[in-house]
Symmetry: C2
Subunit: 341 residues, 2 copies
């Protein structure tokens, strides 16, 4: 019997089509792990090819010169930037109903390692920690610009997740508006807080821990779970235990280190137990200039691209899935133990 | 210079990345038109294979027996139904925050023609009209069930739009809830009405006609346009001139005939001038039991799948497009004239 499920945090519905449900391993494609060399002459993100990207805006270096070899993490403007700080700021133009804003903002690539052959899942924890520090640093800098309302951090892994470049990288886009999805998520969290005087994510965490069956990994500071109303097979959420609306504000160094650990392990689990699926990872955090301290709670969503959303999903916003989150979590928990992740 | 644009009806933003914009024809893939026979032994939707589908719930026949050859349009439950009327209705189960509804509803396939070789774009107008009549008939029947809140009608064309079956078909899913996307769209329309005491779609139509540059086709009853804030290259909207919130209620026979004409021409234009792209078409109509007569306005959205949404789109809901709607409309207008569509 199929079942509709509602996500308490967003009020989105999904349909879990149980009678045609597949076992977790049936979703997996042939492993796409391809041996890559540590360095490629023609890759703009490889060491020694620094001149093939726009000049860096930030880098973690051991005293080496900018835009030269000798870096650990490098942040550069996207060569095909969707938004740019060099666009003239003209504010909102609203000739009646056709509202536009000039494309002011920033679109940056975080090159996560000089090693072409790796991916975030296979890097040492210390390197993942450096990547997170670089992202935090860029978000803090961009937040100082009053024209920037939000910074969306994301990672596209693999062709069906929308990337063509193999070299490990994340991206961020700083926008002059708060995106609709973020606004709605924050708004829903506020409604829950109005009703129950508690953060919906804190409440969810408590209930998920009590039930236990959707939890994949659990550390002192984070919980990784297969959401009750997962839209996609192998969808995962990394939820920090400590309530904080913003990933940027009040981030403690030990939380960043602990996130590097849990993020690396989560991605390694997908890499090894789910045959390195293409995926999108997205940071959900409070808008830079909204005070939603009490009711919003930052988190990371990881969405493998094993299925194709079609007309029904596009129209209704309801996703049909044939993966049962409790089974996915059980499978991944077991694999984590077997693989020592 | 890139530009953010807001859709007045939904308040969604897009980024039109103008400096890396491509000419309309540059988005087109190699034509995927493949010669198919009129009949295939192994196709469950072909005439003579009626026993390979679940028993039909509706058909347009010339006196022939149900589930036998001799039909023009046939509606059958989806063999892998996401929702089913045979599921026991148990209402909403809400143990604290994990809300579920048993999968009551209906998931049906509208087989649009006995001819395997065709697609909606290449069928005669009269046949498209029969397809629309069958859809209307099913929507009216399903609306009589008080447990059904909404009927989502959609069409997936091609593998990257999520279909594996070539034989021309549309689908509908009747849900016991109003989907979040629909609720939000109706809600936004209500806000606009509260502000300006006019329907946002009627207002948009007036402004679009005044500007003219995004209009692709224009008939006595319908306007086809490339939306100002298009999310995808070659995205199109079919907007009826007459204000009506629901596609089902008060549909006049001549409006259905006129829709068959404009829908067929729009799809034929994509088929011929845009190399038969994979696409999703989605009917947007009022929930069955909401009275949003004054402020909502039904329409059809057609979304070719020429690009892959990635992490940024997933997280923010903002789509980045390198297609300029005014150029797409210009290209299609010109092609429509040249091809006599």
């Amino acid at each position: 019997m199929s079942e509709l499920r509602q996500d308490i945090a967003t009020k989105r519905w999904v349909i879990v089509a149980k009678e045609r449900a597949k076992r977790p391993h049936q979703f997996l494609k042939q492993s796409t792990v391809q041996e890559e060399p540590d360095h490629r002459e023609d890759c703009p993100f490889c060491e020694g090819n620094e001149m093939q990207t726009p000049p860096e805006v930030y880098a973690l270096r051991n005293g080496s010169e900018p835009n030269r070899p000798g870096w650990k993490v490098r942040v550069v403007p996207n060569k095909f930037a969707a938004l740019s700080p060099s666009t003239r700021w003209e504010g909102v133009q609203s000739p009646d109903i056709f509202t536009t804003i000039s494309g002011y903002g920033s679109h940056e690539v975080i090159i996560e390692t000089p090693l072409h052959s790796q991916t975030l899942a296979t890097l040492p924890e210390e390197q993942v920690s450096l990547v997170l520090q670089a992202i935090l640093q860029r978000m803090r800098t961009l937040a100082q610009d009053n024209r920037i309302a939000f910074v969306q951090v994301f990672r596209n892994h693999g062709a069906s997740a929308g990337t063509s470049l193999v070299h490990p990288h994340s991206q961020l886009i700083a926008t002059p508006i708060v995106p609709t999805n973020i606004r709605e998520e924050v708004e829903e969290a506020r409604r829950f807080y109005d009703d129950r005087v508690t953060c919906v994510y804190c409440y969810l965490l408590e209930k998920e821990q009590a039930e236990g069956k959707r939890i994949v990994l659990s550390t002192a500071q984070y919980v990784v779970l297969a959401p009750f109303a997962s839209r996609f097979p192998f969808e995962l959420m990394i939820l920090p235990r400590r309530h904080r609306s913003s990933f940027v504000a009040e981030a403690r160094p030990e939380e960043v280190t602990a996130l590097a650990d849990v993020l690396r392990r989560t991605l390694l689990l997908l890499y090894r137990a789910a045959n390195n699926p293409d995926y999108n990872a997205v940071l959900h955090t409070a808008p830079l200039r909204d005070s939603c301290m009490d009711y919003y709670h930052w988190h990371i969503e990881i969405v493998p691209r094993l299925t194709t959303p079609a007309g029904f999903e596009l129209g209704s916003g309801i996703y049909i899935t044939t993966a049962i989150p409790e089974e996915t979590a059980g499978y991944l928990r077991e694999q984590a133990q077997q693989l020592g992740i």
